[in-house]
């Protein structure tokens, strides 16, 4: 079955989709309006709950596959001194449809897939990933902090999503839409929707993506980073960084984690939690030695990792330009500005 095929959705396709999929026992995850100005992905059973207008979700898509905290195993010390270990069962096999993530977040899953599935296959991540279909809604109004075009993405980017939905009316989702199938999973999704979608008429084309200036050149950035490890740029750049984890935790590609035990006297859980390379204790040895003792070295690591180390290792940049780190930064710092300056330095 060919992909990249276009379908048109009628005006109530979304409502129908949610109902149909839910009725089929699937879990539909969609952006919903929480507190004012906050949209997040939550489970929905009706299309009415789905947010109509939003730039992007506050939290990135990654949490659906790599939760902020999850149990790996449970253990209990028995009276006889033995320890009973129960590995946490894998996520239930019911299918999950993410209906309405942004293309940048979908693209970010490509980065996540790389790290969770090389050499060792993280089965918990894999199970969640395998069961999910990503239906992305193309961006119509990127926010001022967005810079996806600078890192090879686009408000209408295909990468990572199984289906990409373009609004043909004003809204993202409510009115008439064009659905572009990118994968087999996407096809299956379309198939489930029955008569609410139909192959697009000849000549119907997706709208052109909104303008988003390209701010820096990742090749130039990489070139500068290759030589710039010892530059004093890092110290200046990092002065205002407060070392919190807001940028990492909201980043759709950051994937560092911690494994901790939490226990009462005889039983407990081993959990995996999000972690952040900006934290001063991240690399601290028990001996007291810390390979990255200063904030600037941690800031450098974060940028190096995203734009040099990760590409070298996995062949792609670990940034999709969603702009969350800029919006979340306590000190008003901007990754895009930093990289723009790096770009400028490289180009002299």
């Amino acid at each position: 079955m060919p992909t990249n095929k276009l379908y048109e959705g009628v005006s109530d396709w979304l409502q129908s989709a949610v109902e149909t999929l839910s009725a089929a026992g699937m879990t539909v995850i969609a952006p919903t309006q929480g507190e004012p100005g906050v949209v997040n992905l939550t489970r929905v059973t009706s299309a009415e709950a789905i947010a109509e207008r939003y730039d992007n979700t506050l939290l990135p898509l990654k949490g659906q596959f790599f939760p902020i905290t999850e149990t790996l195993l449970e253990f209990e010390r028995c009276e006889d001194g033995d320890v009973e270990i129960q590995t946490e069962p894998l996520p239930a096999p019911d299918e999950v449809i993410v209906l309405g993530c942004r293309p940048c977040d979908a693209a970010a899953m490509g980065t996540m897939d790389k790290v969770f599935q090389w050499d060792y296959d993280d089965v918990r991540y894999r199970a969640r990933r395998d069961r999910a279909t990503l239906v992305a809604f193309a961006c119509t109004t990127p926010s001022p902090e967005c810079f996806c075009t600078s890192v090879g993405g686009s408000p209408h980017g295909d990468e990572g999503s199984d289906v990409l939905v373009f609004g043909l009316g004003g809204d993202d989702s409510g009115g008439r839409v064009l659905l572009k199938v990118n994968t087999d999973k996407g096809r299956q999704f379309i198939d489930r929707l029955g008569d609410r979608v139909r192959p697009a008429s000849e000549g119907v084309q997706p709208p052109s993506p909104p303008e988003l200036a390209r701010r820096f050149d990742t090749d130039a950035v990489k070139a500068w980073l290759d030589e710039g490890f010892d530059s004093d740029f890092w110290q200046q750049m990092a002065l205002s960084c407060l070392g919190c984890g807001a940028c990492s935790f909201l980043c759709p590609t950051c994937h560092c984690f911690d494994i901790v035990d939490e226990a009462t006297w005889n039983r407990g859980q081993r959990r995996r939690n999000w972690d952040c390379c900006s934290f001063s204790l991240f690399t601290l040895h028990a001996s007291g030695h810390n390979p990255r003792p200063e904030q600037f070295s941690r800031c450098r690591q974060r940028i190096m990792h995203k734009f040099k180390y990760f590409p070298e290792r996995f062949g792609r940049i670990a940034c999709v330009g969603c702009g969350r780190c800029i919006r979340a930064c306590a000190a008003g710092r901007s990754l895009a500005e930093v990289l723009t300056e790096v770009d400028a330095r490289q180009k002299g």
Binding site: N40, T42, Q64, I68, T69, E74, P91, Q269
Partner: protein
């Protein structure tokens, strides 16, 4: 297979679990005196001895609740009688604020008790434990204190 304590809560024999932090010189000695005087009191109370009520960190109380306590008691020397001069005054100030904070966050302040029991007050101790145990039984199991989520984060 791995149960939480609440799995067994709803039996008729439910006994509240009260964690008590006692200062060494007054309240612990008072509890000791109650024992020496052959005064009985409910076994629901689990005593942790500290040098002074001033050594009770709010985190101890928090952790006790985390570990399933239905009630926490802190007990020290009467004002002015602290073996360390002022530990109980420090405790009084801090723990009052802590109780207010917990109450503000929706934790029932009746679950957190504070008392003065001197080394000579074995009888007061046993009566106190009787009373707070009765109150804890009335309040029922402390289910509302958050446990770690059983399901994974929904974000």
């Amino acid at each position: 297979m791995i149960q939480t304590k609440h799995d067994q809560d709803d039996t008729a024999q439910w006994q509240p679990r009260i964690v008590a932090f006692l200062c060494n010189w007054c309240s612990y000695a008072g509890a000791d005196l109650a024992g020496m005087s052959r005064l009985s009191y409910p076994a629901s109370i689990k005593i942790i001895r500290l040098p002074c009520s001033g050594k009770v960190d709010p985190m101890f109380v928090l952790k006790s609740f985390e570990r399933g306590a239905d009630m926490v008691l802190v007990s020290g020397c009467h004002p002015g009688d602290c073996h360390y001069t002022s530990g109980n005054y420090h405790a009084r100030r801090k723990l009052k604020a802590f109780r207010e904070l917990m109450s503000f966050l929706g934790v029932d302040p009746r679950r957190f008790k504070f008392s003065w029991v001197s080394a000579a007050e074995g009888a007061k101790w046993s009566k106190l434990v009787e009373e707070i145990t009765a109150e804890a039984r009335e309040l029922g199991p402390f289910r509302t204190f958050p446990e770690a989520a059983k399901t994974e984060a929904s974000q």
